[in-house]
Symmetry: C2
Subunit: 491 residues, 2 copies
Amino acid sequence: MHSFAKNKLKIYNSLSGKKEIFSPISKEHVGLYVCGPTVYSNVHLGNIRTFTSFDIIFRYLSIIGYNVRYVRNITDVGHLENDEGEDRISKKARVENLEPMEIVQKYTVDFHGTLRKFNLLPPSIEPSATGHIIEQINLIKKLVEKKVAYEKNGSVYFDVINYNKSNNYGILSKRNVDDLIHNTRALDGVTDKKNPQDFALWKKADPEHIMKWDSPWSKGFPGWHLECTAMSSKYLGEKFDIHGGGMDLKFPHHECEIAQSKACFGTNAANYWVHTNMLTLNGSKMSKSTGNNILPSEIFSDGSPLISKIFSESSVKFFMLQAHYRSILDLSNDALLASEKGYLKLMKGIKILEDLNNFSLETSFDIKKWELSCYDSMNDDFNTPILIANIFEAIKFINQVYAGKAYLKKEDKIKLLEIINLFVFKVMGLKKPVLKGDDEKLDKVMNILLKLRNEARNKKNYELSDNIRNLLNENGISINDNDKDSLYSID
Amino acid sequence: MHSFAKNKLKIYNSLSGKKEIFSPISKEHVGLYVCGPTVYSNVHLGNIRTFTSFDIIFRYLSIIGYNVRYVRNITDVGHLENDEGEDRISKKARVENLEPMEIVQKYTVDFHGTLRKFNLLPPSIEPSATGHIIEQINLIKKLVEKKVAYEKNGSVYFDVINYNKSNNYGILSKRNVDDLIHNTRALDGVTDKKNPQDFALWKKADPEHIMKWDSPWSKGFPGWHLECTAMSSKYLGEKFDIHGGGMDLKFPHHECEIAQSKACFGTNAANYWVHTNMLTLNGSKMSKSTGNNILPSEIFSDGSPLISKIFSESSVKFFMLQAHYRSILDLSNDALLASEKGYLKLMKGIKILEDLNNFSLETSFDIKKWELSCYDSMNDDFNTPILIANIFEAIKFINQVYAGKAYLKKEDKIKLLEIINLFVFKVMGLKKPVLKGDDEKLDKVMNILLKLRNEARNKKNYELSDNIRNLLNENGISINDNDKDSLYSID
């Protein structure tokens, strides 16, 4: 439907280090794989940023006419601390005195709930590591056959040095295996690895370990890097279009995935590797230990000394979209306040356009050109900040029309609204601050109040109109009298 | 905390056909397994009734002091049509032109979304059949070893006749194997089964079948009945406390589960087997083909010729709870209208109690005795209709206090409210029609309007007070002037 934009899309490919014209393997279909969460704790804001970025990529690809199969996994076993230590979920299970799969369920429910509040779409398939043990065992067998993996004491490791003899371990992260060897701390003696940069494909489980399965090597569990190779190849094929994840996954996780795929299938898994950048807080990395940390629950309901008020998910999402996904984004109270203001300004502009009914015979705005610039911004590696700037051009025009300083034809109102709705609600997935359902009721009641107040003012009954305004203010509801329709916003 | 009720709980056990005192295997813990949905279509109202019933059982067991591990599975492979035909998910995948796992994801998302609207709690663990292929293969190996299963052309079947020689196939459903043999239609020649009542443990997959795994017998997939044995034994042990499901699962599904468990572990799997009854529509079974059918989406948003208005999830949930889970429940427009009325009456009564501030020195209601009767109703096989009747006793008293015809001490208001809140919101999981969040805002705005109206009436400004009432009525909001606080309800 918007497929004219199809051939113009450029994506920054971490593999080549360049923006490239996007050319999918099949003309109509796109395979998109994104590394999902390890469900051993509540989702944090950095995760939310990553998944929001890929949600928009998923949405945009679909809107410009691709049939996208979006696979985002759930890591529910095998993600080891420091790539070699304890399984994160098993450890949390011990701490919380629960079964590992209870931990998985608890934090999967949290993850889905939070993403829903951000209005992210569910992926097409959401496979889990424990659901693909057989597939992972089969891949390990292949890797052992090909002599890029070796067994030691029931565990199996990927042999990076052997692999690197005829391949390039470091192709994605631009690291050099020799440097890696020199810069990696010496093995501490408790590992079965030949070399420190080798990574686990299968770990023999301790007797007390709950999450374990039979395998040709031991009762154990798969290593973290393997699950994504197993699931992406199963659902998207041995070679697919886009593989995404947070920048922190580039090395070692994605480097290992490429090594596994290359050794098994002779491919780099995906043609385009896409990485989202970090979210910092007041200029520094978030960290629990230094206290420079803020939780989603603190922003959205509980409060924190680091913020002056509670923010809605929509405001925070708008804040995230105001930066390009490959830029570092710094969260601060001021930035959130500014984003909230911008978000409400945008929504009020849309509401003004929706309600607009004084039309002209001409339109003093080049809608076609403006529409193309919206597509251009998204086609330029999904550049949402430029898209937002473009949309504010239209909002500026709308406000001018409203003030009688610009002109809009009736037919063009519909066209303009359609394009704005497409980019704001379908592509970026923002939500209106006044929702359908319960808030329709709120709208009804608010409209009654505003009507009463306007009637009172028309009759110069200022006692009543002031009374209404004061009662609203006491309840955190402000009315904007500059708007003819008395728009309101509620904290 | 409410553990005095622990030893009084009686549960109807389908296995014995009697109500029995509930005595869990471990004093503090309860293992509860409920057969979850086969995710190949949108959840229907009968499913919702079943899962609502078990949600309340889960909640009540937790409230009276048990640490409940509630496992409810997702069937994402192997549920065959008529127990022998095509895999339901694979078939739907073909119809919808999607990958089977895309079907699984689509309808799992629908299932979770619908249950959330009904305010059901997520289970402790929600395992899937595809996540437990290895466990199922291991069980089949055991069954083959024990000679109650045989392989034929790559598929493996449970040998009911051989099993029945030293066991009782039919122990749950009270069926007799010999009758079964005589009443089952002859094998049609395309099956590999020795006898028609044998059931599949493993099915060899056709070459074009997507969902298949390696096994000692063939590339194939597990039969439906096996997954529940694999997952319940993995997460709750070979013998656990309660196994639940819809009555339609008693035979063959649960009968087969018992046979599998008995053969593998020598147990009936669970000590208590609990089955929920059917939901009918206007006196007959729901059926798509006869048109005597109504979808959740039709009741909650789209409408249907069979109902006169849209109903909220809360009203429908209240309707379901007004019948005992073991009774057939007939849905009709009149029944829903009556339930909606009852639900609002209940919620208004609670609001009156919350706002009550004219107290006496005595209380003319035996709260202690009434509280015990609430527990007694739940202890009598989770009898929610009796519980609701008990709660309406208290509501009647509250309305009398409000009308000055009964007496309540200040301390007793707190006690009464606590008990009502426990049973209405924690045990039955009902939601207040005015919710926190957005509806708090609605409440604020409504309160402003009602305050303005009361002020106007006090000043005998009937023009304004009538104007407010009329504006509200025009918007479907009615105010009840019999209530001092002018309670309102919104359609």
